[in-house]
Symmetry: C2
Subunit: 329 residues, 2 copies
């Protein structure tokens, strides 16, 4: 990703929701990242505590308890947020103004994921509202096409991305037409950043999964990243014929994106066996024997664990806590 | 569950894999539980550290690293384990003998879940092996019918349970025929303990979910337990018409058993929106507005969170850490 940034001139603001680790965030900054994205305020609080910044919170922040936390965080850290609602923008403005602070803001644009964000044609009006409010500083737009990251076929992904790009560019244009600044155009994940790099209007990408990947991302054509993340499991029982039972179930491996695969053993298949157990079909494995599983979704699997055990040259070289695990608010 | 135990005379050894909390374990002991079940060694270590016991580990333990931890745990705690393999029994015996310890053992019987456990007709042979090994003390059988807990219709659940009960009783008989002891017959979860109570041979139940329940368990006919566990979420965006976007996605609510439901609002439906977000269809909710979600599976949802916020009489009365969260090995 550092090489991508050098080659394309696009800045990288990696998403910390994948790794939830200040150690990895620091490695990304050392390799040229301009800051970190966080999904939630709680993640940003943990990274700020570890001296990581600047931080951009990609999910909208609303309601007085969270706004009070955001004010406290802004006092001690360089924080930017995404906004998609005028009433919320006014509440943020009131809070920042009262605290004597200024908060950087990206207008969140719905480019097709249909989750958060305003329609492109409403981006100008929201930007004007933000620009008019004391305590807020309009920096540009966030246009994340999360629904395209796992479209496996490159041609299909590119074609769908083109629609998202059009919406992103229309939103940018709508803001510029009002003589307002769009310094930042923040977009793309691991699956689409190569496309985003082709647009001169894009200033940065928000990719998160590239350090780890997973067995679903591995199916996405055209990505240069290798899978680095596995869950180590061991056999607890061999009483079911050619299906060994291991100690890794739904509490060890997320299920939102399908089943994990057994690393280096295409002859073996994982079969669900509940919260605490998994089945491994295809070979007779002995109790205590170990296998490595490549998760189907890195973000939600990392969120289940307490630490990374970092293995290099056949030995454990480091153990890093997943400090922001569970910080979902 | 305490009333059930008094009424039926069956002992209760609640399963800590659901709550992963020494505080709740202590409450269960105070209400008459004879000890706690743990799914994994890591869970048992945390409970032992908190002075909770005796402990029974329901998943087989195999491999030297885990056996070494079990020896260390046995030195300081009253621990029993499930065994389904003669080779593993011998390894446990060697380790316990070398340490000058004795470990209580239940023979794990496969009563139809097809996960761990020996066939009923092999229970006698395995029991004889365990009984012959120094450092191990044969206590009886574990016969858990996990696959029946969520069979919604009571008549169907009972009919299927009858087969499991037959297998359990055959295993017990096979051991008794060898003049070996079956002091303990440990079986049943929240969904089947009422049936198990009808058998004089059953000594205890392993129910875990009853303190919390969930929206899937709520569909199981004939259970007297109420739902107590919810996830508090707040609206972050209202740009998608009648679907509000909230801050609770796959990292806040497990997906292995379906979708959560909105507590007290049958007019609202949860819709998945990825790791960090959820959708709530059916009403226009304002940013910052809060809703409570009843998870579809209490065990795997609890495992995502750091703490219980205990609310009574409209106020927060306690905050309990989920200390054994993530202890999956």
């Amino acid at each position: 990703m550092a090489a991508f940034s050098k080659r394309t001139g696009k800045k990288v603001r990696p998403h910390a929701k994948t790794h939830k680790s200040p150690v990895i965030a620091r490695m990304q900054l050392d390799r040229g990242a301009i800051g970190l994205c966080c999904a939630k305020l709680g993640e940003a609080e943990v990274l700020a505590d570890a001296g990581i910044g600047p931080l951009h919170i990609t999910t909208e922040i609303a309601g007085q308890p969270k706004i009070a936390r955001l004010v406290a965080l802004r006092r001690r850290a360089d924080v930017m947020v995404a906004v998609d609602d005028m009433e919320v923008a006014r509440a943020l403005s009131d809070a920042m103004r009262a605290a004597g602070l200024v908060l950087d803001v990206l207008v969140d644009v719905n480019v097709g994921q249909e989750r958060t964000g305003v329609a492109p044609e409403s981006a100008g009006e929201l930007a004007a509202c933000v620009a008019s409010l004391a305590g807020l500083r309009l920096k540009g737009i966030q246009a994340y096409e999360g629904h395209l990251q796992h479209v496996y076929k490159e041609a299909e992904r590119r074609a769908k991305w083109r629609d998202c790009a059009d919406r992103m560019l229309r939103a940018r244009e709508a803001i510029l037409q009002r003589q307002l600044p769009v310094e930042i155009v923040s977009t793309a994940g691991t699956g689409t950043c190569a496309f985003a790099a082709e647009l001169p209007e894009v200033t940065e990408v928000q990719a998160g999964s590239y350090p780890f990947m997973d067995c679903d991302y591995a199916k996405v054509e055209g990505l240069p990243y290798e899978t680095s993340l596995t869950v180590l499991a061991s056999v607890v029982s061999r009483q079911r014929g050619d299906t060994a039972v291991i100690d890794a179930g739904w509490k060890a491996l997320s299920t939102d994106s399908g089943l994990p695969v057994v690393k280096g053993r295409p002859d073996l298949q994982y079969a669900p066996k509940g919260d605490e157990h998994g089945g491994v079909k295809g070979a007779r494995l002995a109790p205590g024997e170990r296998i490595e599983l490549v998760p189907s979704h890195c973000d939600t699997t990392v969120n289940l664990h307490e630490q990374y055990v970092c293995v290099g040259r056949g030995t454990v070289e480091a153990v890093w806590p997943i400090i922001a695990r569970g910080r979902i608010q």
